[in-house]
């Protein structure tokens, strides 16, 4: 209750400040009049169309945040592991797509299916050999282990492939772009938004609404009891980790044609993605999806209004949210 009122007040203050800022920075009256006399009101038309463009671009970036934070949320919710290797696994997804294309001749569509499986299998290997030994220890151990793994994986890739990365082309079916009037939307970006929205929804549905999901959630609440029902809980947990990692691999394939395929592509993203998870509420599936898309949009707007702050805005939001709701927007206070 208190939180809502505070939010509202902040919003009012913000609006007043913006008005004052605008009043101070708007060009002088003479200039404004001159603009008004121009027949093709360029000022305003450009601004709204640019704004729509930035919103859409934000949504596209948000879909990466959502996919990655979803994987993190699944892993944290089900395994209680803070998976710092997520960025490195995302990067491996992109490299996997590159190798499938250049060594095995498997194109983008094949990579889209195969990569999550391959990266997921690698995740399962990590879980079986290392992570499951830490299951009963403090979160910190899992965090340290996965962080170390991330550094090793990144270092190895950097050593062999350099830092500037490798090219990966957009699949021919998705090249080109649509002119939406207010912006030029590349077909590939549209595809990214649609696919990640579908994957996010399917994951949420599977975990929150199906009996398999119910079993998974029960297994994290009380593994002993679920075991008593004859369910192989360790195997389920392993597969859940593999699934979360597979999502990172999928995001990697999606990112390969947009960014360079380079060893640091995950490290650049992962910090933001962790902020997304914290804002959404640790372990909350719905929270990570909604927050991922929302923060993408907020970041997009910042890039338009004050680009210098675009790297920090996510963390400002995080600090504000944590002050008002320490468990995150969708998290349950423990």
């Amino acid at each position: 209750m208190w939180g809502k009122r505070l939010n509202f007040r902040v919003w009012i203050r913000g609006a007043a400040l913006t008005r004052r800022f605008l009043a101070e920075t708007t060009p002088s009256l003479a200039l404004r009049e001159r603009a008004a006399h121009q027949p093709s009101l360029p000022m305003f038309a450009i601004n709204t169309s640019a704004l729509f463009g930035q919103l859409l671009v934000g949504l596209i970036n948000g879909s990466f945040y959502a996919l990655l934070s979803l994987g993190l949320a699944v892993i944290f919710g089900l395994l209680n592991i803070i998976n710092f290797a997520h960025g490195a696994l995302f990067m491996m997804g992109a490299f996997c797509a590159y190798f499938l294309l250049n060594l095995a001749g498997v194109g983008y569509w094949g990579a889209l299916v195969l990569t999550p499986v391959i990266v997921g299998a690698f995740g399962i290997f990590l879980e079986r050999t290392m992570l499951h030994r830490l299951a009963n220890l403090d979160h910190l151990y899992g965090l340290l282990l996965t962080f170390g793994l991330a550094l090793i994986i990144q270092g190895l890739f950097q050593n062999y492939f350099g830092s500037s990365g490798l090219p990966y082309a957009i699949p021919p079916e998705l090249t080109g772009a649509q002119n939406l009037g207010f912006m030029f939307l590349p077909n590939y970006r549209a595809w990214v938004v649609v696919l990640s929205a579908i994957v996010c929804f399917a994951t949420w549905f599977a975990i929150e609404k199906t009996s398999l999901g119910a079993l998974l959630r029960a297994a994290t609440e009380n593994p002993a009891l679920v075991r008593a029902f004859g369910v192989n809980v360790p195997r389920m947990i392993t597969l859940a980790y593999g699934f979360g990692v597979g999502l990172a691999g999928l995001a990697g394939v999606l990112a390969a044609p947009i960014n360079q395929v380079r060893p640091l592509m995950g490290a650049d993203l992962i910090i933001v993605v962790f902020a997304v998870v914290v804002i959404g509420g640790m372990g909350s599936i719905l929270g990570s999806i909604v927050t991922g898309f929302a923060l993408g949009v907020i970041e997009g707007l910042t890039k338009y209004i004050y680009p210098e702050a675009s790297n920090t805005v996510v963390f400002v939001v995080m600090a504000l949210v944590l002050m008002v709701k320490p468990a995150g927007l969708f998290g349950r206070a423990s």
Partner: protein, 404 residues
């Protein structure tokens, strides 16, 4: 006052002391670079390889010299760079610092090199401030700077009709210096800058900025960024149909590793300024072949790595001529300024009083996929910028050393 007098006496005494050890032939070089970030292919491990090659080629080891190379990762952070340089000077007794790409770090380290009286040979950073407002008696700036880039690419583009610009600028010392110098060239040649947007260093998504550039309707979108940032900008500009829509990109600083990484299909036709390309002549080809064999990823040398080789080469040559290492940065640097530079990579050149190394620059164009005959056959030379036009004329330099 008393203290400073005694300090002076002490320094003088130390000066005599070093003079007494006239046959000191120990040299320690420090290569300070980005080992794992977005510029690691531009400098990084390759800079260490290049420095080692210069040491081996000098043949000084056989003449009783003991030359060690240490290296460190400044992570593109000025504070880290400063701490490492201080430690090198105080504890590790390093004589000279090399490479130091990333202008923000480079400017900070210049101060340390002056305080600690080290030799500071920068071959990686771009900001022309290093030999202007921030010049010191210890700095030598090799390879290139923002003045050269602006005068090379900027002038060529404006002359060919690209007279309205919008900048996409990396938000730190380098990007700002490059935007400033290029803007000066554009306006001097009758062009106009319509706007600019500043992005944080090492961004992965440029679509927002590119949309703003697109909306500006400028004929030319000037990329005042480097390394991975430039590669991503070029790739995403093609995705957003910027070039298809009639606007052109001007990559003000493009390294051969960026072209390799983006691929010719997208990068073809881009013009850029460089002072070194591996496939220029027999000397550069021989160097590049040896260099690539030593690299894990078998990359060809960038101009920054070539600059490390050339600057170490000149430093050691000067030391050899002096007969011993005086461990006095300013003294060695002033001796280096008296000596003409010459090596297989940059040809003949000289060092101005402000520390700027003068050699020719070249305008290159990225080849089309059909023109390319191999993985690293990427660009072709289209013009030469003569040495006397490539860098800030000494009369215009704002370096305080020049005011007598």
């Amino acid at each position: 006052m008393k203290i400073s007098v005694s300090m002076l006496a002490l320094t003088a005494a130390l000066g005599f002391a070093t003079a007494a050890f006239a046959d000191d032939k120990n040299v320690k070089l420090g290569v300070l670079t980005d080992m794992a970030g977005l510029y690691a292919d531009v400098g990084g491990a390759g800079s260490i390889v290049a420095a080692q090659m210069a040491v081996d080629d000098s043949g000084l080891a056989a003449k009783g010299w003991k030359i060690d190379i240490v290296s460190a990762d400044h992570q593109n952070k000025p504070d880290v760079g400063v701490n490492i340089s201080r430690q090198w000077a105080d504890q590790d007794k390093v004589d000279g610092i090399f490479d130091v790409l990333t202008s923000s770090v480079a400017l900070a380290v210049a101060g340390v090199a002056k305080d600690k009286n080290l030799v500071y040979m920068n071959s990686g950073a771009a900001a022309s401030d290093l030999t202007n407002s921030a010049c010191t008696p210890n700095t030598v700036h090799w390879t290139y700077d923002t003045y050269l880039l602006a005068n090379g690419t900027g002038k060529a583009v404006v002359k060919s009709g690209g007279d309205t610009w919008f900048f996409l600028t990396a938000d730190y010392a380098f990007g700002q210096a490059l935007e400033r110098d290029t803007t000066a060239v554009i306006t001097a040649n009758g062009g106009k800058v319509l706007g600019s947007v500043r992005h944080p260093l090492s961004s992965s998504d440029f679509s927002s900025y590119l949309l703003q550039a697109q909306a500006s309707k400028a004929k030319i979108i000037g990329l005042a960024n480097a390394g991975g940032d430039t590669a991503n900008s070029i790739k995403q500009a093609s995705e957003f149909g910027i070039t298809a829509g009639g606007q052109k990109l001007a990559a003000l600083l493009l390294f051969i590793t960026d072209v390799h990484s983006v691929g010719l299909k997208i990068a073809q036709g881009l013009q850029f300024t460089t002072t070194f390309y591996w496939d220029q002549n027999d000397g550069t080809r021989a160097f590049a072949k040896r260099f690539a064999e030593k690299m894990k990823n078998h990359q060809m040398p960038t101009m920054v790595q070539a600059g490390v080789y050339a600057s170490v080469n000149h430093y050691l040559k000067t030391l050899a001529a002096m007969g011993a290492n005086p461990h006095d940065g300013a003294k060695v640097v002033s001796k280096m300024k008296e000596t003409p530079t010459e090596d297989a990579l940059f040809g003949k050149g000289s060092i101005q009083a402000n520390g700027r190394v003068i050699h020719p620059g070249y305008l290159f164009q990225v080849k089309t996929p059909e023109e390319s005959k191999g993985e690293w056959d990427l660009v072709k030379q289209i013009a030469t910028i003569p040495a006397d036009e490539a860098f800030t004329p000494i009369a215009q330099s704002t370096c305080a050393l020049l005011k007598k």
